[in-house]
């Protein structure tokens, strides 16, 4: 999966999981300027984290656990994690 599609998947997942924290300004900066957002700033509660992880799983087939999000801490780290997991799968298939 291309990086741009992974970023789009994260964008959509944030739209679902971080409704109030992922405001218009952050959406614009995330998409247009490629900024790295800290999850702590996005005001995701436990339900939001679950929704975020489900959305990521549906769009990328990568499983993330809510507990992992605290560890990953930022959108860049999440994207990197997804890339790595998808890469591992590609390697395993070979």
């Amino acid at each position: 999966m291309e990086s741009s599609r992974i970023r789009m998947a994260v964008f959509e997942a944030l739209t679902i999981g971080a409704r109030s924290g992922f405001n218009d300004e952050r959406r614009r900066r995330f998409l247009d300027e490629g900024v790295n957002l800290l999850l702590a700033d996005l005001d995701m509660d436990s339900l939001g984290q679950m929704e975020f992880c489900i959305a990521i799983e549906l769009s990328t087939a990568v499983t993330l656990l809510p507990a992992q999000l605290a560890e990953l801490a930022s959108t860049d780290a999440i994207e990197q994690c997804i890339r790595e997991k998808l890469g591992e799968r590609t390697e395993n298939r070979r």
Binding site: L47, M50, C53, I54, A55, E57, L58, S59, T63, L64, L65
Partner: protein, 469 residues
């Protein structure tokens, strides 16, 4: 029996049945072996079925629409020794073929008299297939006593009178179609046979008008077609009452029907293995709760938890029923028997609750219940919300398994003809109404995959959309 261009009274029907029974008897059909019927013609099939009942020969339907391999497989599962056909092309390799000459039905019985009616009323007389939306259909047998008992209970509850004329659009080769015809004839009433495809499409309303139908039984799909078909303005005659059957007859569909027709509509719910479980009676059909009516008086019904403890009204649990006259096992299938028949109860596999007023509400199949991070989700609840959207004709919810989250609920919707829907809007609507139990994806499909009986095949649907994003 009434059919296009012809009415057959009981004397004529009896002569045809006797002639057919004599023919079958001469060919050695006996109570010791099971005879299959592969005859699509409604009248001939019914006569052959009655003849086998007269002889006490157990029977099973091997539907002509199924490919030969499926019919043979079913014949082998049941142990069918011979198969009655009218079309030699439908003969199977294996069981002996009994090519029934159709002219035999119009002639008086001759030669050796057929066996007298000494069939054991308690022994299996008809082998039926369950609706089986998952995997292989389960087989169960009903005795003549079982069928008679069911017919009599229904006749009492519906106050069936001498002018009763029943029409079902389900083929005689399907279990509900066959049982309806046998029940009607057992009661000495008129079974209306719609006939096979004619040069032009005839609406159910026209059939009811033409044959003076008092009882029209429709599945959900057929009911939906009647409501949405705006190509004509046919009305039902005043004598007709419509009965819709199935575990899900959406409230919106009932309201649409009542908005368009001044015809009584009742909803039945039951299981082929068990017979009728509940019914809406005049005045009992709430317009605010999508119930399948109140339990019929001749059965016992409970909603229980996993330990078998009865639950209070409003609580959702597994439905179980029992009655004086019920099937107690699946044929040659101990595993399915153990799952569905326990401690004298039959578990249809439906999740249900009772309202304070005693109406039965269904919440989907127990094996369809989803568990999303410990949140219980009932597909029927989601489907009801989606079907409230005016563009949605039918919705089906299925799970995408997730190692982390359990079952992620997804939905597919089939739209009304030339209708359109904004999926984001539908998602938002579902989210607003269902919160965390909302589907996480909604797919618009041309048609939901369905069984011959019209039930949505969720597992097939899940397979079709397994990789869709």
């Amino acid at each position: 029996m009434a059919m296009p261009g012809r009415e057959v009274g009981y004397p004529e029907l009896n002569r045809a049945v006797e002639a057919c029974a004599a023919w079958l008897s001469r060919r050695g059909c006996a109570a010791s072996e099971i005879v299959g019927i592969t005859v699509a013609d409604e009248y001939v099939h019914t006569v052959a079925s009655l003849a086998l009942l007269v002889l006490g020969v157990p029977q099973a339907c091997l539907p002509s629409r199924d490919p030969a391999s499926m019919r043979l497989h079913l014949a082998q599962r049941i142990g069918v020794a011979r198969v009655v056909v009218t079309d030699p092309a439908l003969a199977l390799r294996g069981p002996e073929t009994l090519l029934l000459p159709q002219d035999i039905l119009g002639t008086p019985a001759r030669g050796d008299p057929c066996a007298t009616l000494d069939a054991d009323p308690e022994s299996p007389s008809v082998y039926f297939a369950s609706s089986g939306t998952t995997g292989e259909a389960k087989i169960f047998a009903l005795s003549q006593r079982d069928m008679a008992w069911r017919a009599e209970r229904i006749a009492d509850s519906e106050r069936i009178t001498s002018g009763y004329r029943a029409l079902t659009l389900v083929s005689v080769e399907e279990t509900p179609g066959k049982t309806k015809r046998l029940h009607t004839l057992y009661l000495g009433k008129t079974a209306v046979l719609p006939g096979r495809s004619t040069s032009r499409v005839v609406s159910p309303q026209q059939l009811c008008e033409r044959f003076g139908v008092t009882c029209l039984e429709l599945g959900v799909l057929a009911l939906s077609s009647v409501v949405t078909d705006r190509s004509h303005d046919h009305r039902f005659p005043h004598c007709t009452t419509v009965y819709a059957s199935g575990s899900r007859v959406p409230l919106s569909l009932r309201q649409s029907f009542r908005g368009r027709f001044d015809t009584p509509l009742h909803v039945h719910y039951g299981a082929r293995e068990f017979g009728r479980i509940s019914s809406t009676y005049p005045g009992s059909d709430s317009e605010t709760v999508e119930s399948v009516g109140t339990p019929v008086p001749w059965i016992e019904l409970e909603i229980v938890d996993g330990a078998g403890t009865p639950l209070a009204p409003g609580e959702v649990g597994e439905l179980r029923v029992r009655s004086e006259c019920m099937t107690h096992e699946y044929y040659r299938d101990p595993a399915a028997t153990a799952r569905h028949f326990r401690h004298g109860w039959f578990y249809p596999g439906d999740l249900a609750s009772l309202t304070g007023a005693g109406a039965l509400c269904l919440h989907g199949r127990s094996d369809d219940m989803m568990n999303l991070n410990s949140i219980k989700i009932f597909p029927a609840e989601i489907e009801r919300v989606l079907e409230e959207h005016p563009a949605v004709k039918a919705a089906a919810v299925f799970a995408r398994p997730s190692q982390a989250h359990g079952d992620i609920p997804l939905a597919a919707v089939e739209l009304h003809e030339s209708a359109a829907v904004n999926v984001d809007e539908l998602m938002a609507r579902a989210r607003e109404r269902l919160g965390v139990r909302a589907p996480r994806r909604i797919f618009v499909v041309d048609a939901l995959p369905r069984s011959a009986a019209g039930k949505v095949l969720r597992r097939e649907l899940a397979g079709l959309l397994a990789t869709a994003r």
